[in-house]
C-alpha cells in the first residue's frame, strides 16, 4: 500500500511548526500505524532528513505513550484502539493521511508529534493516590470489596492516561481522564478516607493546568482507547460539588 502523509513538523517547543508532505511506499496492510512511520523514518534518514519524532513505548495498547491525531481523530478512526494497535489495513491504498500532535495549551509540543503530558502527572500528584503505611501487605481478603464496586473501579482504572480525551475535546478539557482517576479510587474502600480531599485537589490542579471546561460533547468517550464512560464525569461533578459546597 502507498500513502501520502501530511505530517506536523516542529523543531522545538518555541519554534513555528508546519505540515510537511511525505510519501509512504510499499506499506504492508499488517503493519501498525507506528511501524508505517518507522519505515517512513528509515527512508527519511537515508535521504538525510531528520526523522519524524513521535511518542511510543509498549506498542501493545496498554502503556498510554502513543498519541497522534490521525485525520482529525485522536488515535484514528478505529474505535477502542490506540495508535500502536491501529493497522494499515483500516486505510485505503493511496489514501492521504493527516498526522498531527495532541493539541491543547496544557500539552505543549516538544517536537513534531511529541507533546509534554506532565500536566497529567501533576493532577495525579495532587490527589490521585491513597496514603498507606508501608510494611508487609495485608491479606487481600481482609478488605471486602463488593463485586459491582470492584467492576466499576476497574472500568475507571482502565484509563491509560494517554490524553486522547484532551486531544479530542473541542474545549481541550481533561475531565474524562481526571474523572476516571477520581472514580477508580472513590469506588474502593481504600479510597474512602481521602475521597473528599482528592476530588477537590485534583479538579483544582486540572483547572490550574489550563485544561478547558467540559461542555458535554462526549468526543472524549468516542475516542478513548479504553472506552471510559462519560458517566464518570457526571460522578466527578457530583463528588466535587458535594465536597466543595459542604458547609463544614
Amino acid at each position: 500500500m502507498d500513502f501520502t502523509l501530511h505530517v506536523w513538523r516542529q523543531a522545538g517547543p518555541d519554534q513555528p511548526g508546519h505540515m510537511e508532505l511525505y510519501q509512504a511506499r510499499d506499506i504492508s496492510p499488517d503493519m501498525s500505524f507506528l511501524e508505517m512511520l518507522d519505515l517512513v523514518n528509515e527512508d527519511l534518514e537515508k535521504q538525510g532528513i531528520e526523522p519524524i519524532a513521535f511518542d511510543h513505548d509498549c506498542r501493545e495498547g496498554i502503556c498510554g505513550m502513543c498519541s497522534l491525531v490521525i485525520n482529525g481523530v485522536a488515535h484514528g478512526q478505529q474505535p477502542a484502539t490506540t495508535t500502536c494497535q491501529l493497522h494499515m489495513r483500516h486505510f485505503r491504498d493511496k489514501d492521504s493521511i493527516y498526522i498531527e500532535p495532541w493539541r491543547a495549551a496544557a500539552f505543549p509540543v516538544v517536537k513534531d508529534l511529541v507533546v509534554d503530558r506532565s500536566a497529567f502527572d501533576r493532577v495525579i500528584e495532587a490527589g490521585g493516590f491513597i496514603s498507606v503505611n508501608t510494611g508487609s501487605a495485608q491479606d487481600g481478603n481482609c478488605l471486602p470489596v463488593p463485586k459491582d464496586a470492584a467492576d466499576t473501579a476497574m472500568d475507571a482504572a482502565a484509563c491509560i492516561g494517554c490524553g486522547a480525551c484532551v486531544a479530542a475535546c473541542p474545549n481541550g478539557s481533561s475531565m474524562l481522564f481526571v474523572a476516571a482517576k477520581v472514580a477508580h479510587l472513590a469506588h474502593l474502600p481504600q479510597g474512602q478516607p481521602e475521597k473528599r480531599r482528592r476530588v477537590l485537589a485534583m479538579v483544582e490542579q486540572m483547572d490550574r493546568e489550563g485544561f478547558g471546561h467540559c461542555t458535554n460533547h462526549y468526543e472524549c468517550e468516542a475516542v478513548c482507547p479504553k472506552e471510559i464512560s462519560r458517566q464518570f464525569i457526571a460522578e466527578m461533578n457530583r463528588e466535587y460539588l458535594k465536597a466543595g459546597l459542604q458547609a463544614h
Binding site: 491525531v69 498531527e100 493539541r103 496544557a106 474545549n171 478516607p193 481521602e194 480531599r197 467540559c214 459542604q246
Partner: protein
C-alpha cells in the same frame, strides 16, 4: 463503605476559608451555575409558552390573563428581577467558560473532524447570542411597545390593554413572524443540548434518571419550539383573528 473519622487533611480542607466561593469559581462550579440557571430559564420558557398558548382561547381570556399578571404588582417585579438575575448569571458563566475553552486550545487542528458531537452542541455560544438578541427585540416589541407603538396603545372592550390584538396584528407582518420563528429554531437547538447537558453537569448517574441526560433535552426543546412557533404562525395565516375593538 463509610469511614467515621475524617483525616487531618480532610479536616484542614473543610476549614479552608472561601471554600464555597472557590468551588463556584472552578470549572465545575461555572458549569454548575450555567446548568442551574439554564434549568431556571427553561422553567420560565415553558411557563411563558403555556401562558401564551391561551391566545387560542380568545381575546377575553388572553387579555384577562395579562391584566391578572399586571395586577400581581410587586410579585411580578420579584419574578422579573429573579429572571433577570438568572439570565445575567447564565450569560456570565457562559462567557467565562467560552473564554477559558478558547485559551485551552490555541493552535487549531489542520484536519478537523468530530466523531460524536452534534451541530447544536458545537454552536451553543452562537445560538445563545442570537437568542439573546431576540430577547432584546422581543422585549422592545411586546413589553416596552417600542417597535409598534400604535398597536401597543390598543384597548379591548373591557378597557384592558389589548395584548391579544397587539400580538395578532404585529404577526401579520411577515418580517416579525419570520424573525420569531427563526429565533425559536435557535432556542430549540440551544435547549436540546443545554437541557440534557445540565443533568450531566449536576451529576446524574442513576440508570433510572439517565433519560434526563439523553432524550429530555431534544424532547423538551421540540415541545417548546412547536408551541412557540404555533402562535406567530397562527396569527400570520389568519387562524387567530384580531379581537373586537382593534
Amino acid at each position: 463503605m463509610e469511614v467515621a473519622h475524617a483525616t487531618h487533611a480532610e479536616v484542614a480542607a473543610q476549614r479552608q476559608p472561601g471554600r464555597v466561593a472557590r468551588t463556584l469559581r472552578s470549572s465545575i462550579g461555572s458549569k454548575t451555575l450555567m446548568a442551574v440557571t439554564g434549568l431556571g430559564l427553561l422553567a420560565f420558557v415553558i411557563v411563558h409558552m403555556l401562558d401564551n398558548l391561551q391566545i387560542f382561547l380568545g381575546q377575553e381570556r388572553y387579555n384577562g390573563f395579562a391584566a391578572f399578571l399586571r395586577s400581581t404588582g410587586p410579585l411580578l417585579w420579584i419574578l422579573r428581577i429573579g429572571l433577570l438575575a438568572l439570565f445575567v448569571l447564565h450569560v456570565g458563566a457562559a462567557v467565562k467558560v467560552w473564554r477559558a475553552n478558547k485559551e485551552a486550545r490555541l493552535e487549531p487542528y489542520v484536519f478537523r473532524a468530530s466523531v460524536r458531537t452534534g451541530y447544536a452542541a458545537r454552536t451553543m455560544i452562537v445560538s445563545g447570542m442570537i437568542v439573546f438578541a431576540f430577547v432584546v427585540y422581543h422585549l422592545l416589541h411586546l413589553t416596552f411597545g417600542l417597535t409598534h407603538p400604535e398597536l401597543f396603545a390598543l384597548r379591548d372592550p373591557a378597557g384592558h390593554h389589548d395584548v391579544y390584538s397587539m400580538v395578532v396584528l404585529s404577526f401579520r407582518e411577515w418580517p416579525v413572524t419570520v424573525s420569531y420563528i427563526v429565533a425559536q429554531v435557535l432556542l430549540c437547538m440551544h435547549i436540546s443540548h443545554g437541557a440534557s447537558s445540565a443533568f450531566q453537569t449536576l451529576g446524574i448517574t442513576h440508570p433510572r434518571w439517565l433519560w434526563l441526560k439523553q432524550g429530555f433535552g431534544p424532547g423538551v426543546a421540540t415541545f417548546i419550539a412547536a408551541g412557540n412557533i404555533a402562535i406567530p404562525l397562527a396569527c400570520w395565516i389568519g387562524i387567530v383573528q384580531p379581537g373586537t375593538g382593534a
